[in-house]
Symmetry: C2
Subunit: 276 residues, 2 copies
């Protein structure tokens, strides 16, 4: 079941907002998809974008300025929602860094979230399978922003056969050591922090001898860089393990979509290179 | 007095959100300005964008995808707010098509709006004068979307010495004959509809033998086209009077910023041509 909520023509392609029933998330899930004109006739590669805290499936499509280049390259863009919604869980709207809009892309093990907050399975397996059955999709790649940058790196690194290249804007690199991350992980996964390691990019990279091509952009005027994002921790492991991760730092840029929009074109071209 | 509310680096330029005291609008007014990197060293042309109903000074900068080309061309972009705000007028938030976010860019003659709803004077004279004193601004041009397309055409046509070229996305062309327009104009200007003619593009064009260069883009799947926008009325006068107005209709496009973003680059290049 695929319910079209709205459709907009944009750059000759078609931007659509859908809802479908998800098994992993035990109910309806929203996503948006941009189909360049080429994708209506033939198979095209798909680039997934995971958004950050308090975003929906709309922010990326509306604010990142990605659709022009996606049409040019013939690249399908997919922006899943950042969590299940309206699951009637009491604490889901208590704080903007947890619950609705803040899934942290894990499979929750703790009640009541374990029933529906299985975004890891949803992004890694269920949604790609579902979309491949409904659209002409070729190779897949994954990117994200902030909490979604964390999701893209974690899900991508653990599933290199699904996502052939990865990128992130200002990702939360070490959620175990970030106040936002440790708060959310303790509620979704319980207090045993060894359970958190498989959702922490820095911990995963410590055990990864070789990765897909990875590109990371980070603004140096990002107020969350030191405490929440901890890019230096990632850069350190990447250097130690000699991993193929390109990290670009940009003076004066902050954490907003104005920063994302500035560098989105190079991310699309980066992923496109590995998708043809 | 110029108060910086926030600043974002974007495409090497600087996007700033300001508040200043306006005489015309009897209190504080918001606007945003994008200064391409070139504008920090030398005079650059400025392109003003007037937004539509229920927008603020943020929508255009966030959603239209204009900043990349503005940086490339060295074009300053200015997005004023769509009305005064917080003037404590009882009916100002009664309906989304009137009051806050819905000034219709007129000088109100009716109490209580006449005190502060003088957006015509603000956009045509006060803001350009103020900005020229605070930034390195050369020639000026004007564009807008929907109600802002109406504002751009009316203000631009009546002030050809101020704005050298005009453009609009899905403008309200004949507010006197549009339900949104006639409702707002009756409250701002009173019930004597002869008072409305100087704010109606179609009426103005009837008396204009020659205009600046004008470009209009319109989506054919725009749900407001027939009843609210009435582009055919404008096209008719333009043809009759042999005016230099280029009208482009686009199959499948709606009224949203997804439509605006698709064609914004050509508007920037259009205005740039006349500004150098």
């Amino acid at each position: 079941m695929l319910t079209l909520r709205s459709e907009h023509r944009c750059f000759s392609g078609s931007l659509r907002f859908y809802t479908h029933e998800s098994k992993s998330c035990n109910g309806p899930m929203n996503f948006s998809i941009f189909l360049p004109s080429k994708a209506q006739k033939q198979q095209c590669p798909a680039l997934y974008f995971l958004a950050g805290l308090s975003s929906s499936d709309e922010n990326f499509m509306m604010k990142a300025g990605a659709l022009r280049v996606a049409e040019e390259l013939g690249l399908i863009l997919v922006a899943p929602d950042t969590s299940p919604r309206n699951r009637h869980i009491e604490r889901d709207n208590e704080h903007w860094t947890f619950g609705e809009g803040a899934s942290f892309y894990v499979n929750a093990t703790q009640s009541p979230w374990s029933t529906s907050y299985n975004m890891y399975d949803y992004i890694a397996f269920e949604l790609p399978d579902f979309l491949s059955k409904n659209f002409l999709i070729g190779k897949k790649s994954l990117m994200g922003h902030s909490m979604g940058g964390h999701g893209a790196l974690v899900i991508g690194l653990r599933n290199p056969d699904v996502f052939l290249s990865l990128s992130a804007f200002a990702p939360i690199c070490a959620p175990m050591r970030s106040p936002w991350g440790s708060y959310a992980l303790s509620l979704y996964l319980g207090n045993e922090s060894s359970e958190w390691e498989s959702y922490d990019t820095v911990e995963i990279l410590k055990k990864t001898p070789k990765t897909q091509p990875i590109l990371i952009d980070q603004g140096e005027a990002d107020p969350f860089l030191e405490e929440q994002l901890r890019l230096d921790d990632l850069a350190h492991v990447a250097r130690e393990n000699n991993l193929a991760i390109e990290i670009r730092k940009h003076a004066g840029y902050d954490h907003s979509y104005y920063f994302v929009s500035t560098f989105i074109e190079s991310h699309l071209r980066f992923h496109y290179k590995y998708s043809i």
